[in-house]
């Protein structure tokens, strides 16, 4: 196990960590004959206002790790803390927003009503809901589409609505599970730019799962490389590219150097 898990953190006080993962294991179908070790001995700490990507090939457990943080799954062993609390408590306190691989918009709701969904559940007043939905749609530059319905939008626009919905209640932590995985290369690069813009305005911590190395490098302050069978963290790489990042960043030699570094750590994990 690589020891660079402390690479991005400046403080040593564990209460300051947004996410703190210690010796976490996750076994699916535990106890039965077809038990699968999805995650083995995961240690990771993520500080405030970091942008951390989890990357690796299919089956490396990156999505599982994200779901453990979100309390959509429970670890078999080990300790997870989100904002210093157990994930279950963090979920009850609505500490994070989650963006799925598919936009999962409800098609009977307009764009604005979709953004308001979490606010309705959390008991915001109608006036505040409308105001926040307007502000969030402005943030993702879809204010003109507030009254459209999801099926009238392109895939990239739908995913922007999903991001606006996740940010509507202003969580300090945003969990994103391959949100641009289904988009074409051009749209994806544009969405990367827009996500950085949104992050620049909204702030907070983002944990981003992707299987695209360039995407991970372009977005992140740290890239966590994972490998499968059993899922484990093989390397954590700091990305020191200057911000704000833009289309020129992708042509910067330092960008290529970072992509190469991450790619090689993946190859080492496979022993190729």
């Amino acid at each position: 196990m690589d020891t660079s898990t402390s690479g991005g953190s400046q403080t040593s006080n564990p209460d300051q960590k947004v996410v703190s993962i210690k010796n976490v294991h996750k076994v699916f179908n535990s106890g039965s004959g077809d038990a699968v070790v999805a995650l083995q001995d995961i240690n990771l700490e993520i500080g405030a206002n970091e942008f951390v990507s989890l990357t690796g090939p299919s089956g490396c457990g990156k999505s599982t790790l994200l779901r453990l943080i979100a309390d959509l799954l429970q670890p078999t062993a080990g300790q997870l803390l989100v904002n210093g609390k157990p994930p279950h408590q963090a979920r009850q306190d609505r500490d994070y927003g989650f963006v799925f691989q598919a936009a999962t918009l409800y098609d009977w709701r307009s764009v604005s009503q979709n953004v308001q969904l979490p606010l309705e559940i959390m008991g915001y007043s109608p006036r505040e809901r409308a105001e926040r939905a307007r502000a969030m749609l402005k943030l993702v530059e879809l204010e003109k589409f507030a009254d459209h319905h999801p099926w009238q939008l392109s895939g990239g626009m739908q995913q922007r609505v999903a991001i606006a919905r996740a940010l509507a209640f202003e969580p300090a932590l945003l969990l994103m599970d391959e949100p641009f995985g289904a988009l074409d290369e051009f749209t994806r690069e544009r969405m990367n730019m827009e996500l950085l813009n949104i992050w620049g305005k909204a702030g907070g911590t983002i944990i981003f799962v992707t299987h695209s190395i360039p995407e991970a490098v372009f977005l992140s302050s740290r890239v966590v490389v994972m490998s499968p069978r059993p899922g484990r963290i093989t390397k954590v790489t700091n990305i020191d590219l200057p911000r704000p990042r833009n289309f020129e960043t992708r042509e910067d030699p330092r960008f290529f150097a970072a992509v190469t570094e991450v790619r090689e750590s993946l190859r080492e994990a496979y022993g190729v």
Binding site: L72, R91, Q92, R94, F98, W108, E120, I121, M122
Partner: protein, 425 residues
């Protein structure tokens, strides 16, 4: 974004047959001529001609004259004008079809459909009189219109199929009767005239007094009976749908309840309703209540099954989203599961709407309700051999009740679902 590849609207589609347009132009020309011939035949027709007296408007004219002490010649004259008008309408609508075809309009098929319907109306009004050449002409019009519709270019509308089938059936039915007569009644079902009555006779029967010299037409009596039965069916439909919805909710909520109760819900539908109905009637006494209960009994099951399916239909990610909000159970139910179930529930409600009418009719039988459709059906099946048209007319009205109820539920569905992706788009 929105569908940008809409077909150019002014241009008709490629015809399915290369010469389809030319052929349909010829056919509509003949239809136009047929309409004009029928009109011309009626213009100078003597008032005692059976083709006028036995026609549907002719019979209505006689009833009106007898009831209001009017001059028969005057009312029959009006009936003659009505028949001329219908024939000219058929000719005119055929001309409209011709015009649309000549202009290569995209609405050619719609124009032809209207022409087809006008010939249907004509067949229901012109009486089959032995030796008269007038009756086959509108039938030929229907046949030609059907062929023209089949080969004509243009987009097929949604209502087209319904009317094409009923028109084809009408045409086939009447031609079959004619064939039976031509072959000396050797074809099956043509040996006795009451086995296959003419559709015109059924239409005419609806506009005849329900009883000899009675004040009310059969259609009026049947409409009253239909409304009477529909009210019972409606109560049963509402109660059955609510019960079905609640059961579906319970089953979706608890696997245990589903395992325990669903087999009995299924079993309840395999028990013949005819056997259960007398028990319900004797338990609840006479009146509308047992009828509504029997109607609800036939209604609840599809709603239960589809509510259950619909409530379980949201995909795992949509549910995880709710979980990520730490959404309470009521929010998951009312903001995700129920909206997702609505398309399923409406499908069931449409099935139940027609089922509730059948249930009410079946329920009326043992409860001896004399004002509903069941009594009318019983009354007219007793006289079937002498007056088959009355039972057929009753069936037509009973079917209309179901169709109208179904359509009403469909309208509500369209209104509720107006913001969703429509199947058509």
């Amino acid at each position: 974004m929105l569908d940008t590849e809409l077909r150019p609207s002014g241009e008709a589609d490629t015809p399915r047959l290369a010469s389809g347009r030319a052929l349909s132009i010829v056919l509509t020309l003949v239809m136009l001529a047929l309409g004009l011939i029928v009109a011309a035949a009626y213009v100078g027709m003597p008032l005692d001609d059976p083709s006028l007296v036995e026609s549907t408007p002719g019979q209505l004219a006689l009833w009106l004259a007898a009831r209001n002490n009017l001059d028969e010649a005057a009312t029959l004259g009006t009936a003659r004008i009505a028949l001329v008008g219908m024939s000219l309408l058929a000719a005119g609508l055929s001309g409209g079809g011709l015009y649309a075809l000549a202009r290569r309009s995209a609405s050619s098929q719609r124009a032809l459909l209207w022409a087809l319907l006008s010939f249907d109306v004509l067949v229901l009004n012109v009486p089959p009189v032995d030796g008269s050449l007038l009756y086959p002409l509108p039938l030929a019009g229907i046949a030609l219109a059907l062929v023209a519709l089949f080969v004509a270019p243009g987009r097929v509308s949604r209502t087209l199929g319904v009317f094409v089938v009923i028109s084809a059936l009408l045409c086939f039915w009447e031609v079959y009767i004619a064939l039976g007569q031509a072959t000396g009644n050797t074809l099956p079902l043509t040996d006795f005239p009451w086995k296959m009555p003419h559709w015109q006779n059924i239409a005419e029967q609806l506009l005849q007094p329900a009883r000899r010299n009675g004040p009310l037409l059969l259609v009026g009596i049947l409409a009253e009976a239909a409304f009477f039965t529909w009210r019972e069916a409606f109560v049963g439909f509402v109660a059955g749908s609510l019960l079905g919805f609640v059961l579906g909710m319970l089953f979706a909520h608890s696997k245990l309840l589903e395992r325990a109760l669903l087999p009995y819900a299924i079993a309840s539908q395999t028990v013949p309703i005819l056997a259960i109905a007398p028990m319900i009637v004797s338990a609840l006494g006479a009146g509308w209540l047992p009828v509504a209960v029997i109607s609800a009994y036939l209604t609840f099951f599809p709603v239960t099954i589809n509510t259950l399916r619909g409530l379980l239909s949201p995909d795992p990610m949509a549910l995880e989203l709710m979980r990520s909000y730490a959404a309470p159970a009521w929010a998951v139910l009312w903001k995700l599961r129920v909206p997702a179930a609505l398309p399923y529930i409406f499908t069931a409600l449409k099935v139940s709407a027609t089922g509730s009418v059948v249930g009410a009719i079946v329920g009326e039988l043992p409860s001896s309700r004399s004002d509903g459709l069941a009594a009318a059906i019983l009354r007219h099946s007793g006289n079937y051999a002498s007056q088959p048209e009355k039972l057929w007319a009753t069936i037509v009205i009973a079917a209309l009740v179901g169709i109208l109820f179904f359509s009403a539920v469909s309208l509500v569905e369209r209104w509720v679902m107006r913001r969703r992706v429509s199947v058509e788009s």
